[in-house]
Amino acid sequence: MSVLATLVDAMARYLVTGILALTAALGASAQDEAIPSFKSVDSIEARVQGCVTCHGQSGQGTQNGYFPRIAGKPSRYLYNQLIAFRDGTRKYPPMNYLVAYLPDAYLKEMADHFARQRPAFAPGQAPPVDAATIERGKAIATVGDPARAIPACIACHGAGLTGMEPGIPGLVGLRSAYITAQLTRWRVGDRRAAEPDCMKRIATRLSEKDVAAVSAFLAMQAPPKDASPESANLVRMPLACGSQH
């Protein structure tokens, strides 16, 4: 079996090298990030080909604004989401269907894989909103709204918005359509996290306008040089967060 596997791998490499050379020669098109590709059949890269048409080869996301960048988010966050999709506690039918019959250990391996990736970021989105809205979004993201007990995004998602180990996702590199959708789902109780669910407390205090403003602002942000999540507990978090335990 191992001889066969080696042989198969060698053949796969040969084929892939050819395809890569061809792709390079033709010049990379905008959709290439969504085309399945791997170097060795018996590898985690080959195994996560099921993800690439929506999340890109390295989890960088694709042109479709709704599919999030998953590369470099903390592994535990990604794992929690995969478990939630599998068990139906986070609802998105295409994802629920794909991971329905995958064991914990394998989902952990997939999460670890995408957490390790550091692909380049797509350019920030030009916001289709006015300057006042951007200002409002910036205020929520960087200082929060103390009058309504809304903490700043950066208080937990990191100064560079790259998230925090082990369970808080980076926000940089996400598009406004995705952020708006998630905050809205949290507001209406459709998406939830481990209790105490701090995002629920925050999202339910945000108005629809706030959601649009903060999503537009976040989608404009350029990534820091090192897009790794912050280490845990460098800062004290303003709200207790079930995902950090």
Partner: protein, 435 residues
């Protein structure tokens, strides 16, 4: 006066219903001639040994009880799961041994009567979503072992949710009619002309495995004909096609090696094909736990089921494809599919299945091929293949024309014997499936 008349009428109907109920609920016959082995096993039932409970757990897996009787994040066997049917939603009952809300007070006799005749402890007729038409073939000894296992799991206090079936299907009395038409009671009878292995396989496939629930078509009344056993059909409410097990043009295994069949059932992947859709669930929850002996027995039986090619061969004229469609399909295939399924369609078996000569792709119904292209899929993670390779959804990348062209391409390329599909067929499934 009118009131008295009405009351009398109601009373009359109640008596009539009670009479019908009594007739229906009269105790079913006990298995005749239990024989020495069964007698011995039955003797152990009142005081279940570890061995019996272990065997019961194994058999409960063969019956895939957990798949329906457990909610995804719920406690095992506590029920509550909604089961969509063409007649409305059924809510699967709690079968943990809780005295109030589960089956804690059931005796092994009552459990066997339920398995064997589809009649609940309180005399209610079970809806045939419970596969008692298959479980009736289960022996008393096996039923007792499953009972012993179920009694040994943690009891969960969780009330059953009432079904939400439309009139008239919410009238259980009507099941008398269904049972007359479609239910044949009786334990599996071994075919003396066949080997012990074949009979064991038939017992598992026709009984606990309840394969007929999907692989035999059901009609508008939720019934199926014995003459059409295992001939395939659309699975209601799931928009998947359960292929025929009797035709080698579909999922018939007549030309497969035992090894490949066992791999497909137990592992979820094989050199010839991969399980997906509803079958992935069956392998995940049930078949991966089957012993090699039992999987081989099922293979032996399944191979003999498939001795015919249903219907006439597809004429080559039906396989004609417009050159432009073929070229469009080929171009998409080379760009998106060939990395895994390879230009020659042979795949990287068993990790990425071959498409050339794959019955699942060439069979008359293109539903499953279209769905795989639109939705992708992962085979189940199993003990023998815990890290399966998966396929991404292409619904956002390929429009109806492009998807139809590439499905057409794989159905006719490499001497595959399928027929072209139309963009309208793709569109129909795209609209049915949640995004």
């Amino acid at each position: 006066m009118k009131l008295v008349l009405r009351l009398a009428m109601i009373g009359f109907i109640a008596v009539l219903l009670a009479a019908v109920a009594w007739w229906v609920l009269r105790p079913g016959p006990m298995p005749h001639n239990p024989g020495r082995v069964a007698q011995k096993q039955r003797g152990t039932a009142p005081n279940p040994t570890t061995q019996t409970i272990n065997r019961g757990e194994y058999l409960a897996r063969a019956g895939d009880c957990v798949a329906c009787h457990t909610e995804p994040t719920g406690k095992p066997f506590a029920g509550g799961r909604a089961m969509a049917t063409p007649f409305g939603n059924l809510y699967v009952p709690n079968i943990t041994p809780d005295d109030e809300t589960g089956i804690g007070q059931w005796t092994s006799d009552e459990f066997y009567r339920m398995m064997h005749t589809g009649v609940s402890r309180d005399g209610a007729l079970l809806y045939p979503a419970m596969p008692f038409a298959s479980y009736t073939k289960v022996t008393r000894a096996d039923s007792d072992a499953i009972y012993a296992y179920i009694m040994s799991v943690p009891p969960v206090k969780q009330k059953n949710r009432p079904h939400e079936l439309r009139f008239p299907f919410n009238k259980r009395e009507l099941l008398v009619g269904w049972r007359t038409l479609y239910f044949k009671e009786g334990e599996y009878k071994a075919d003396p002309k066949q080997s012990a292995q074949w009979n064991r396989g038939a017992y598992l496939v026709e009984g606990l495995g309840h394969c007929a629930m999907c692989h035999t078509a059901i009609n508008a009344l939720g019934g199926s004909k014995e003459a059409q056993a295992f001939e395939g059909g659309m699975i209601p409410n799931q928009n998947w096609y359960a292929p025929s097990l009797t035709s080698n043009r579909e999922a018939g295994l007549g030309e497969w090696s035992t090894r490949d069949i066992v791999d497909l059932l137990q592992t979820g992947i094989s050199l010839r094909a991969t399980v997906y859709g509803p079958m992935a669930e069956v392998t995940y929850n049930s078949l991966q736990y089957m012993s090699d002996e039992d999987a081989e027995a099922m293979a032996a039986y399944l191979r003999t089921l498939a001795q015919k090619d249903t219907g006439p061969a597809v004429p080559s004229s039906a396989r004609l494809v417009q050159p432009a469609v073929m070229e469009s399909g080929r171009a998409t295939y080379e760009k998106q599919c060939a990395i895994c399924h390879r230009t020659d369609g042979k795949g990287w078996a068993p990790y990425y299945p071959p498409l050339a000569g794959n019955q699942s792709i060439t069979m008359a119904s293109p539903v499953n091929s279209i769905r795989m292209v639109l939705n992708g899929g992962y085979p189940p993670g199993t003990r023998k293949n815990p890290r399966p390779h998966g396929m991404p959804p292409f619904s956002r990348i390929l429009d109806d024309e492009a998807a139809a062209a590439v499905v057409t391409y794989i159905r006719v390329a490499w001497n595959n014997t399928g027929t072209p599909v139309t963009p309208a067929q793709v569109n129909e499934l795209r609209r049915l499936l949640p995004e």
